[in-house]
Amino acid sequence: MDQMDLFAHIKHIPLLSSRLSTGLLAGNYRSVFRGPGLEFDEVREYAPGDDARFIDWNVSSRMGTPYSKTFREERELHFFILLDVSASVQLGSGRSRKLDTACLTAALLSYAASRNNDRVGALFFTDRIEKYIPPDKGDIHVARFVQDMLSLQPQGTGSDLALGVRTAQEMLTRRGICVILSDFRVSGGWKELSLLGRRHDVIAVKITDPLEYRMPARGYVELTDPETGVVVRGKTGTKGFRKEYTDFWEAQDLYWRRQCRRRSIDSLTIDTEDDPVEKLLAFFDRRKKR
């Protein structure tokens, strides 16, 4: 899938997103996303039945009668996307790059969030911060964000997740939902993720490729990692080599899942061969049921 295909695809996203948001997210938005809760609304005269804990003593003493604080649910959430655009994400062995799938997912989610009147913001990172899009409302903003996302030419190659998460935490002044889209071939960042998870609802979406866990049986190749320059030589046709490869990456994946669970971060894996809409629907369905 080249960029033109992706653009064509994204044209349909508002439609798909509406299905996502109206059909699934809209009514149950708060139940799908662990809402950060309440925001202060106003102070009114105490009415019987009000929780005594919410009596605003300062106001009460000034006015002579008891006043109590009222709260309302936070309506305008910040929906924040943390997108890994490192060199490894720009690869892909199938129909598309991992980045294409990631962009598609990001676009879907942001349109859905926009439908819900949430502010959509984003941060692109590699081994540096590539671009920051401040949270804003409206479909136009989202459209511009998607445009930026597709035309971004990353300067760095690595994937410093810790840096990305730390920056996101600084940028997100209000509590919100943070979706991390990456292949998680990253370095560390677990400590930062724990911190972020304490304040925000964090969802880690891992974008994978079919060759990620299964080496194809071919001849002797010299593979080089585009981020680190690590070179791997071997005959991919041999059983031993393929087994070592699968074992290594499955162990890495297991570790990743365990780390997410430990920090009560929801994790989702989307393969480049998968349909992101289906995956997201299934994911939210699962989440709602909890």
């Binding site: 002797y220 190749v221 010299e222 320059g229 791997v232 071997g234």
Partner: protein, 333 residues
């Protein structure tokens, strides 16, 4: 000695490590497939050592060897040999050896007179470079064993084949000298020499030693006469080659010194007497040094070209590389 016709080409070998660097170690080299195999700055996938790795190493080695061999072949390798070519004719030497039974007398260490004589003749042959040497033996009669030749291997071979008494029981010194003279007659050599080794008195043959000496003198041949044997009674032991019977006994030795002196002096040669292995050696050395003539020699340089070996090696390495890379590893080019 290994040498190169155009060693300038060998400088290309310095480019080899450069090419190896660019091909295998340069950070920006091509031929690699970008593929995420590592966590950024963390663990990375590294397969263990495998047979494929060894084969790949071998294939790379053969590739670079092939290239190296081409460069060496380009430099025109060859083995240089220097060959001595004699421009002047050496002297002709005929050795006349007594094979009478008395040569079996054991007064010469370690074996007997005959073996000692054979040993010193061998030494003499091996010290000569381009002087034809022939061999005449005598007993009751005399015969040519090998005509004067520089084919020293053959001379030594014939010398080895000699047996005591095979020319009959007798001492035909005159005949020996005469036969030697006959075969030196055609020689174009400037100097002709007969080395006579005997331990007895002339007691056989139709030609007297004096007449033979006359003949030699007429042909310009010098005779060096060596009388061997110690005085007194000596034990002897020999096997008759005709009957295979072994004879043992005591024997009073003695040779006709006057005759030998006369023969030597008549021909302008010299007489030596020798009573032991050591003195015999000394005598032969003396003759050897007396009879060395000036040699004119040119050194010829011959180069045996070796480039084909290197090309063949290169081709072999190349085919090995191709086989390993293309057919065994199925490497992506």
């Amino acid at each position: 000695m290994y040498s190169f016709e155009t060693p300038e080409y060998l400088f290309l070998l310095f480019l080899l490590p450069v090419a190896v660097f660019f091909r295998h170690f340069w950070k920006k080299r091509g031929g690699r497939i970008p593929f995420a195999v590592s966590l950024w700055n963390r663990e990375y996938f590294q397969p263990g050592n495998s047979l494929a790795g060894v084969i790949a190493f071998l294939s790379h080695v053969s590739f670079w060897c092939s290239l190296g061999c081409i460069i060496i072949a380009l430099a025109g390798p060859g083995i240089v040999r220097h060959r001595k070519v004699f421009l002047s004719r050496g002297l002709d030497m005929m050795i006349v050896l007594d094979l009478s039974p008395s040569m079996a007398a054991q007064d010469f260490a370690p074996d007997n007179r005959f073996e000692s004589a054979r040993q010193v003749i061998k030494d003499l042959v091996q010290r000569r470079e381009n002087d034809p040497i022939g061999l005449v033996t005598f007993g009751l009669e005399a015969a040519l064993r090998i005509p004067p030749t520089v084919d020293y291997d053959m001379v030594l071979q014939r010398l080895e084949d000699l047996r005591i008494l095979e020319m009959g029981d007798g001492t035909a010194i005159g005949m020996g000298i005469a036969v030697a003279c006959l075969h030196l007659q055609q020689s174009t050599a400037g100097e002709k020499v007969i080395v006579l080794i005997t331990d007895g008195e002339n007691n056989a043959g139709a030609i007297l030693p004096e007449a033979a000496a006359e003949l030699a003198a007429g042909l310009g041949i010098r005779v060096y006469a060596i009388g061997i044997g110690s005085e007194g009674e000596v034990p002897l032991e020999y096997t008759d080659p005709a009957t295979g019977k072994t004879y043992r006994g005591q024997f009073v030795s003695g040779f006709d010194e006057e005759l030998l002196v006369a023969v030597a002096e008549r021909t302008g040669g010299k007489y030596f007497s020798s009573s032991s292995q050591g003195t015999l050696e000394a005598v032969i050395r003396t003759i050897d040094s007396m009879e060395s003539i000036e040699k004119r020699v040119s050194i010829q340089t011959e180069t045996e070209e070796k480039y084909r070996t290197w090309i063949a090696a290169s081709l072999g390495c190349f085919l090995l590389w191709f086989f390993l890379s293309r057919l065994v590893l199925k490497e992506v080019w």
